[in-house]
């Protein structure tokens, strides 16, 4: 069994966002593997560990992005992934365009299972997993918070519109991750050393014949003006009375 786990390098959520010249400027900011992708790498490693004795599992981490994206690929290898594939490009791909790259790599690798984040922390997109599944004509399980392999079946739980569902699906399949799926491991020093020797295959994006059709016209940080009327609550009743008065008379949000 071969698992591809998608790894994207994004702005650390704790960092503030800067916009320069109509685009988000990542220069000098801390970039990390998307948390949602960490869950995918961890889950792939757990499936590999659980499969000991049966058919061996290979975990391939895949990154599509600029040279610096190799850092996140190295993190995945240090966590334990067997090898990496890096499709190198400086072009900004949207989820639909990127899914075509992922699907081609999956076909070339003969992958049986793909993990990707339920949502990407830079695009705020949720489309990548489903679009990839459609291109491969595979089923998908999105927002997965529990997963277990039973032979050729994946048994799990995922979040839906109102509540959650337990499911069964035969692989090949695409699984998108959600918090709660697992607690991603930290790379240990020996594994970091070992990861330096692991293979990362580089491929240029040009080989894939992808033409993104979304054009970014501009980005801005729109800050809603807030009133910031903050009361001292030492006298709880007085503060409560004043707050309710403002909510009723000034904001008009309470009847």
């Amino acid at each position: 069994m071969r698992i591809i786990t998608l790894v994207r390098q994004v702005l650390d959520a704790e960092e503030s966002v800067r916009v320069r010249g109509g685009a988000v400027d990542l220069e000098g900011s801390k970039l990390v593997m998307d948390t949602m992708d960490e869950y995918g790498v961890e889950e792939a490693l757990r499936l590999r560990e659980a499969a000991s004795g049966e058919t061996p599992v290979e975990v391939v981490a895949l990154a599509v992005g600029p040279e610096r994206a190799e850092e996140s690929l190295r993190t995945a290898l240090a966590m334990g992934a067997d090898r990496g594939v890096h499709v190198v490009t400086n072009e900004l791909l949207d989820a639909i365009a990127l899914s075509a790259v992922v699907a081609q790599v999956a076909r070339g690798e003969g992958a049986d299972l793909i993990f990707c984040g339920g949502q990407q922390a830079d695009w705020d997109s949720q489309a990548l997993g489903a679009a990839t599944a459609e291109r491969l004509q595979w089923p998908q399980a999105t927002w997965t918070s529990q997963l277990e392999r039973k032979g050729s079946t994946l048994v799990g739980k995922h979040e839906v519109d109102e509540g959650s569902e337990t499911f069964e699906v035969q692989w090949p399949a695409v699984v998108t991750t959600q918090q709660g799926l697992n607690e991603p491991r930290y790379p240990t020093l020996p594994n970091i050393m070992k990861s330096k020797k692991k293979e990362i295959r580089k491929q240029p994006l040009e080989a894939f014949g992808i033409a993104p059709r979304l054009k970014v016209l501009g980005s801005e940080i729109q800050v809603k003006e807030r009133k910031r009327k903050i009361l001292d609550g030492k006298d709880a009743s007085a503060a409560a009375a004043q707050l309710v008065k403002m909510l009723r008379e000034e904001a008009g949000v309470v009847a």
Binding site: E159, D161, K215, S219, D232
Partner: protein
């Protein structure tokens, strides 16, 4: 044709359908040669929803089939792509619900169309034979901290619309024609073996006008039930929670507001004992009016607060409830 997929829940047309209708009418107004606004209603036993949709669109296509009794991403994508393809829809509008955002990418791939995700504004630039439609949109990126303007040009474009971004269209008085459609549907491959519904008598988090959320600052699970639920009941609001509270097991995941939970945009958002981590803010920072109650005057939540009280929530919340009862 502008195709809008009118979501329904238990046979009742969802609020999102009214918002999609507003977006569709706006596009139609910008370029009259778009033609008709067609609503598609999918489900089993959806006559009432279809009748409601008939007051929003120029034409309603109804696929009322037992096989559509339960949502499935592959089945829904197949149904919508068939209708969009046969009707040569230039724009396919889908609600930005969790399910809408799950199956819409499959529709886009099937139609070889670009996908505009979770848009808050939509504008049609031009429309011509051969060149396809040029759509401009705005959506949030970087955990809802950045507003990005995007453009695409294609014969057909799939768009998901962020809930709460368009005002609900008013229903008309003359119902549009309803046509039953028959669809070729694929076999379901994701077998649902059990369902855990959000058991709550309250209105859904994403649809509510008022949301009351609590964080770890509330203290304990018991205090959360007493204070946050108490205030929510007084305001007729659903309860939201931070990730820390959900991770601690105080509240179910279904109530989580933030990056990996729900995104809400109510008229009034009350944050009780919430410090304001970026991941939480991304799920609520577009709320119209934000009220924060927290003992720490330096908590980041106060930076985006309209009205707040610095103090002990165990004293302030009961005082607020008493004041609201007056």
């Amino acid at each position: 044709m502008i195709l809008m997929v009118a979501e329904q829940s238990n046979g009742v047309l969802s609020k999102s359908a009214y918002e999609l209708a507003q977006a569709a009418r706006q596009l139609q107004g910008e370029l009259p040669n778009f033609g008709e606004v067609t609503a598609l209603v999918l489900g089993s036993g959806v006559a009432a929803a279809a009748s409601a949709a008939a007051l929003l669109a120029d034409q309603v296509l109804v696929a009322d089939m037992p096989a559509l009794g339960q949502y499935d991403a592959e089945v829904w994508a197949s149904a919508v792509a068939q209708i969009a393809g046969e009707g040569e829809a230039q724009v396919v509008l889908i609600a930005g619900s969790r399910s809408g955002r799950e199956y819409s990418p499959r529709v886009a791939v099937k139609l070889d169309a670009p996908l505009l995700e979770d848009v808050i504004r939509l504008q049609c630039e031009s429309f011509g034979e051969g060149a396809g439609v040029v759509l401009r949109a705005e959506h949030y990126t970087f955990l809802s901290r950045v507003t990005e303007r995007i453009e695409t040009q294609a014969p057909a474009v799939v768009v998901t619309v962020k809930p709460g971004s368009f005002v609900a269209a008013a229903a008309g008085t003359t119902p549009a024609e309803q046509l039953d459609v028959d669809l070729q549907l694929p076999q379901k491959r994701l077998k649902v073996t059990g369902s855990i519904q959000e058991k709550t008598g309250r209105i859904g988090l994403t649809e509510a006008d008022v949301v009351v959320s609590g964080g770890r600052g509330v203290g304990t699970q018991e205090a959360f039930a007493e204070l946050v639920e108490g205030l929510a009941d007084q305001l007729g609001a659903p309860v939201g929670a931070t990730r820390a509270v959900v991770d601690a097991g105080w509240r179910p995941y279904a109530e989580q507001v933030g990056q990996t939970g729900k995104t809400v945009q109510p008229k009034l958002y009350v944050a009780v004992g919430i410090s304001g981590a970026v991941q939480h803010l991304s799920g609520m920072n577009k709320s119209q009016c934000i009220v924060a109650l927290n003992k720490d005057a330096d908590a980041p939540i106060f930076k985006i607060t309209d009205y707040g009280i610095v103090g002990d929530v165990k004293e302030i919340v009961p005082a607020l409830i008493a004041e609201l009862r007056k």
